[in-house]
């Protein structure tokens, strides 16, 4: 939702970044305020996923220029764990499997690290279990997933639900969802979207990265940005998604060239 006079949470100015010497981001500008949901769309290879990884601090991507201010703080000078502790959350397009670590141990470690950072009490096994039970409802997840290894043997949909569960537990200020809809059937898409909508408040903000309009039927954005060749080239309201769905991305590519 667009809230009058709300605080800017994320401000990206002229951001450029490269991977293995190849420039991918060529001057990205974006401002996201509390309460807002932004969608970044665009063709394959336009730099959408790179943008999300740069924000989360993936070591393979080198920032070559520009600035990213998150809640008044220079995000780029923080290591990835400091960014997540400050309230940046990236839901992965391909969540990793970690055999040998149970989901509940992993979630508790992440949660308690954050609690410690905030100077709050860490939760023991039992208290954390109570805490998680409520969060499971957000993504309609079976508690049996807690005792399994992180993402190991999970279906595509279960992995994405697990990502949103992590988001529910860590309560970030900025959630970046990287192609969260990819590989989801219609039921899983509904559940994951419901989860994201439940977690969206006037205090936090969401950036959806997606290729398809489909997700935006479930999570309605306040703004849609189109990324092309490492830049945001077009910004509009939610109606832009429909136009993109019917006309594709080619016309934008053409217009950018002109």
């Amino acid at each position: 939702m667009i809230v009058e006079n709300s605080k800017v949470i994320l401000s990206v100015k002229n951001l450029t970044a490269e991977v293995e010497g190849v420039q991918i981001l060529k001057g990205v500008n974006l401002e996201v305020k509390a309460g807002e949901v932004h969608a970044i769309m665009g063709p394959n290879g336009s730099g959408k996923s790179t943008f999300s990884k740069v924000l989360a601090g993936h070591p393979d991507y080198a920032v070559t220029g520009g600035e990213v201010i998150f809640k008044g703080q220079n995000l780029l000078e923080l290591p990835p764990e400091e960014r997540s502790r400050a309230g940046v959350f990236l839901a992965f397009q391909y969540p990793l499997e970690i055999p040998g670590v149970t989901n509940s141990d992993f979630l508790r470690l992440a949660y308690n690290t954050l609690q410690k950072q905030k100077g709050l009490a860490e939760l023991d096994l039992l208290d954390f279990d109570d805490y998680v039970q409520d969060k499971l409802k957000v993504v309609e997840m079976n508690p049996s997933f807690l005792s399994r290894s992180v993402n190991e043997g999970f279906s595509g949909g279960e992995k994405k639900r697990n990502e949103i569960l992590q988001m529910a537990i860590l309560e970030p200020k900025l959630a970046i969802l990287d192609e969260t809809d990819s590989g989801l059937d219609i039921d899983a898409l509904r559940i994951v979207s419901n989860g994201v909508n439940q977690l969206s408040t006037a205090e936090n903000c969401t950036v959806l990265i997606t290729h398809y309009q489909r997700l935006l039927d479930y999570i309605v954005p306040d703004f849609i940005h189109v990324m092309e060749s490492g830049k945001i080239v077009l910004t509009g309201g939610k109606e832009l998604a429909l136009e993109l769905e019917s006309r594709g991305y080619d016309w934008i590519t053409e217009e950018v060239k002109v």
Binding site: A56, E81, L96, I98, G100, L109, A110, T113, Q117, S149
Partner: protein
Amino acid sequence: MIDLFVQDLLSQQPNFDHAPAWLKSLRANASDRLNYLKFPTTKDEEWRNNNFSELKDIALTTVDSIVEEPITNPIHILDDHILPESAESLITFIDGRFSHEFSALEGLPTGVFIGSFKNFTHLGIDLAASLFPHIGKYADPEDFFVALNTACIDDIAVVYIPKNLNFAPTLQLLFVSHQGSISQPRCLIIVESGGSLNLVESYIGQDSPHFCNTVTEIYLGANARINHTKVQRESDTAIWISHCAIAQERSSSYTKNAIVLGAKKSRTNLQVQQLGEHTETNLNGLTLIGGEQISDTHTAIAHNFPNGNSQQLHKCIADERSHCIFNGKILVAQAAQLTNSKQLSRNLLLSPKARIDTKPQLEIFADNVKCAHGATISQIDADELFYLQSRCIDLESARKLLTYAFAAEVISKIPVDSLRETLSEVVLAKTH
């Protein structure tokens, strides 16, 4: 020409006059073999990565079996290693000799024997007839260290589970090496047909140089089951060589979880013979070492009959300047049609100076079999680290967690709760 090291060792042996005739001849035969068996060097293919020649330079003493004074030194290290699950089914051998004081064998079921062979009393069962045929039968007699162990047998830890008896408690065999000693523990485990046993074999040592050369022979009758966990937590200055030979009759099932954490140099030999159809063998191994440690594991599973199954997972984690070696042989004889065998060797390098050598070795003579094998050597995955970091976990903790997770796959298979928990803690403490 007999090796000087061997000559020295044999000459230190106590007087064996009181031993039974079958044991005397077993020892004498092994001594004879030591006349032509050579001390293995890096020129021998099976030993090329691990050199034990320093054994010859170390002045170690054997324990004189005539002196019966109790050894009090190891007591304080014992407590940490006795499993609560085995409070009433524990045998302890100190420097290769049975210790009454630290063994607890209360109310064993009728027909079960656990203890030193010297105390083997079985109503109606002749000692020589029931034990002798098994001793020295399965462990390769032509192996130098097996021959050395056999030539010096003074005591034998014997476990005898009679037909169709399910021995419910976890049985622990605890072997303690004392400072500056050579200990050569010998074990014989017999589970007669239809019987079952959950066994934990633990090796610990005082923090001083010593040499432990152990031989364990295991016989499973038809349909027998053994779950065998072997944990080596020797001191960092010890040299440890272990042979374990397993003979499995038809439809028996043997599962091994072998954990190697200690010793400056260690060598594990594991040989499994399937002696009948529908036999199942599961081997899980974890070696986690650092510093200058070297650990070498050689396993061999011989499928000799149709419809045999085997599964093997061996994991090595090498930190600092350590060196792990794994050699896993799977033999499928021509008669062993419809064998189903899987082997996986997974290895983790934690430091640029660490080294891992792995060698899966399949020899298949049957044409209708399913055999899969694989080997990987890698570092901790950078994307996995980033995933954890993006969930608030710092790099150091993420590394630790991923290393622990790599090891946990093997540890989680151990069917003894307290041991699983202890080892998890030890592994977490070691992964820094």
